[in-house]
């Protein structure tokens, strides 16, 4: 069976508020599309896996972020090369911030990022917490839950992932949520993001499949395990989530 290699960055330190759900959704949907998912992980000091087809990463406590930062700078060049090769990636919250140029703390200390995304982040003493609904031309309505005190601003080379209609997203000033550059997506949305936004999951999968095998995604064959098929369940979950208070 055709293999797709999914690499999760720093699952030990950067994996919070259900970010694991993103990994699970990629694994299952790859199976349901008829591919064999090979699930890989990379933690500080380990050997970096060869030829990943999709990269994902999550958020963490401040302490987790401190633990991985130096290591991330060490593999920065490799990640840049993968991004240039158009490898699809999804980075949530903490790793989204560190995929940008820097995170400047409240005290003015700059934590260097790897600059794959043209964004910069500033620590604040206000935590942005709650349900988020945002609109994207490419992915439709994007739904999730944000929980961050760093506020992120996009430079000229990064496009916003979506425009916020409920919640704050990147920051309190503009309506942007997340960022996109090459096939690298950054977002503040936990929830998990991918279960309720299969359009984004399928973007990552179809891009990887296209690049590796030069083929289009076929039909999704998800086993029937409840009175409603997967698509209907997802749609109802999305409707509920977008109607809930912040």
């Amino acid at each position: 069976m055709k293999q797709i290699r999914v690499l999760q960055l720093y699952p030990r330190d950067m994996n919070i508020y259900g970010d694991y759900g993103n990994t699970l959704v990629l694994q299952r949907r790859l199976q349901w599309y008829g591919y064999e998912p090979v699930m890989l992980s990379y933690n500080p000091g380990e050997e970096f896996p060869t030829d990943p087809d999709i990269l994902i990463g999550g958020g963490g406590q401040d302490s987790g972020q401190d633990r991985i930062q130096a290591d991330l700078l060490g593999i920065g060049e490799r990640l840049h090369a993968l991004a240039e090769q158009q490898v699809p990636m999804l980075m949530i919250c903490g790793l989204y911030q560190l995929f940008g140029h820097f995170f400047e703390t409240r005290a003015g200390r700059r934590i260097q990022g790897i600059g794959i995304l043209d964004v910069e982040t500033y620590g604040t003493d206000k935590r942005l917490i709650g349900n988020v609904v945002a609109e994207s031309d490419e992915f439709g309505t994007v739904i999730g839950y944000e929980n961050h005190s760093g506020q992120t601003y996009l430079g000229d080379d990064a496009a916003p992932l979506a425009a916020v209609t409920t919640g704050e997203g990147n920051n309190q000033r503009d309506a942007h949520e997340g960022a996109r550059q090459h096939n690298v997506l950054g977002s503040y949305l936990h929830g998990s993001l991918l279960p309720k936004n299969p359009a984004i999951a399928d973007f990552l999968i179809s891009t990887a499949v296209q690049q590796k095998f030069g083929e289009q995604l076929g039909e999704l064959a998800s086993p029937a395990s409840s009175p409603l098929p997967l698509q209907a369940l997802t749609e109802r979950a999305r409707q509920t989530a977008s109607s809930r208070p912040r």
């Binding site: 699952p11 030990r12 330190d13 994996n15 919070i16 508020y17 259900g18 970010d19 694991y20 759900g21 699970l24 959704v25 299952r28 933690n43 406590q61 401040d62 302490s63 987790g64 633990r67 935590r127 917490i129 709650g130 349900n131 839950y145 929980n147 005190s149 936990h190 929830g191 998990s192 279960p195 309720k196 998800s222 086993p223 395990s225 409840s226 009175p227 409603l228 997967l230 369940l233 997802t234 109802r236 979950a237 409707q239 509920t240 989530a241 809930r244 208070p245 912040r246």
Partner: protein
């Protein structure tokens, strides 16, 4: 640290508070927050002055999971030793709730007839409380992802527990197995520190949030301090505890009324605190008796009989609690329902459902999924390959259907806090409901 000077409360504030409490009761209210608010406004030093009269002072229990049941066990263990114990039994774990409880039991002259107060405090409110009333002892259970959408970060919650410990005057009991709680010891100087803990072979039954995807927060076994009370074996409604350290340690095995691994570990916590509070003067027989009889607190999960067949309600409010609920009770031969709400008291963030593995339910399947976030839950189960037989967001409709489809099998409902309240209320309309324990 501020020194709290004993001072008798102004009689007027007591009378006004009592009146407010009576009025609230008449209007059918719970009699908790409103009178407390009135007295707090009138007399901000009220609590400090009443509680500081108690000969054995104030003991505080805090942490994310299990504080209601643990508080109740501490109270019963101390009562078993003949102490008169005041506690905030209304379940309203806020300063105002404590004020309201005090008002219910105080004499018109402002005296509280008790030897000691044992109070359950919510992390966030405990910080305000301990600044007004310094506890003599505190017991800190755990920090788990729960109300993170309110407090922000798990490390912030740990900081709240640290504040409680720093304001404690005599002794602090810490959970050795929770690295964030155990580390609080580093910032304490004057307090006597004791630990409760688990024997190494039991640790796998108590996964922490950090253990989910390989651990980073647990200390290496060699670095662990000795525990005053260690849970060494776990059976069905049975536990073995090692009391004391080194040569003086002794092991006791006892049946328990509480069930589940989690509550048994809470019993170890309660024992450690009671041993510290009482020092050497313990009636051992009485302690064992109270331990055996202590029941879980109301509302934290309970066993009912509905229509002649058992129905268990299991409260789940965070990933660690849900994982424990799933691993403590076998799914075999049981009809399972899951009810997930996302109201303020439950926490709005549904992310945590993705940090629980539901694969243990795959063989039996789930008969009914309900609550505001029923479809989120059903979606979660779908990705874990768990068959779901019904999805109905309306709790009342779902419960009726679930019970009528499974009239004779044992049934178990995993539910969030507000879902549990709604289900309990509706269960009241069934004639043959019997609660035990």
């Amino acid at each position: 640290m501020a020194v709290i000077r004993p001072r008798l409360p102004r009689p007027a504030s007591i009378l006004v508070g009592k009146a407010a409490r009576a009025v609230t009761k008449l209007r059918g209210g719970s009699g908790s927050a409103f009178p407390g608010l009135v007295v707090e406004r009138l007399d901000p030093g009220f609590l400090a002055s009443v509680l500081s009269q108690l000969p054995r002072g104030v003991v505080v229990v805090s942490g994310t999971n299990g504080k209601t049941t643990t508080t109740k066990m501490v109270v019963e263990l101390l009562r078993g030793q003949g102490l008169k114990v005041f506690t905030n039994r209304s379940g309203s774990n806020f300063t105002r709730g404590v004020v309201a409880s005090v008002l219910g039991e105080i004499t018109p002259r402002g005296r509280l007839e008790a030897d000691i107060a044992v109070l359950e405090l919510d992390e966030a409110h405990a910080v305000h409380f301990v600044r007004a009333v310094a506890p003599r002892y505190s017991l800190l259970l755990n920090v788990m992802r729960d109300q993170l959408d309110r407090f922000g970060e798990i490390d912030t919650t740990a900081g709240m527990l640290r504040t409680i410990a720093e304001h404690t005057t005599h002794g602090v009991v810490l959970n050795r197995e929770d690295a964030r709680v155990a580390r609080i010891a580093e910032s304490l100087q004057d307090q006597e520190i004791r630990y409760f803990g688990l024997a190494p072979e039991l640790r796998k039954h108590f996964p922490s949030d950090d253990d989910l995807h390989a651990s980073n927060a647990t200390l290496a076994p060699a670095e662990l301090p000795e525990a005053e009370v260690t849970l060494t074996a776990l059976g069905t409604q049975q536990g073995t505890f090692r009391l004391g350290t080194g040569e003086n340690a002794e092991e006791i095995s006892t049946e328990l009324t509480v069930n589940g691994a989690y509550n048994t570990y809470n019993a170890a916590a309660a024992l450690a605190l009671v041993r510290q509070v009482l020092g050497g003067a313990i009636d051992h027989q009485a302690l064992l008796r109270s331990l055996k009889e202590a029941a879980p607190a109301f509302g934290r999960g309970e066993s009912l009989t509905v229509g002649g067949a058992p129905l268990d309600l299991v409260l789940v409010k965070n990933p660690a609690g849900f994982r424990l609920g799933l691993s403590s009770f076998s799914a075999e031969g049981v009809a399972t329902m899951i009810a997930i709400n996302d109201n303020y008291a439950d926490g709005r963030d549904m992310s945590w459902l993705w940090d629980v593995s539901f694969e243990s339910l795959a063989a039996q399947g789930v008969e009914m999924v309900s609550g505001v976030r029923a479809y989120d839950m059903a979606l979660r189960l779908h990705y874990d390959g768990v068959p779901v037989r019904g999805v109905e967001p309306e709790l009342v409709v779902a419960l009726d259907e679930f019970l009528s489809r499974h009239p004779r099998t044992p049934r178990r409902i995993f539910c969030t806090y507000t879902a549990m309240l709604a289900l309990r209320k509706h269960l009241g309309s069934y004639t043959e409901v019997e609660a035990f324990n």
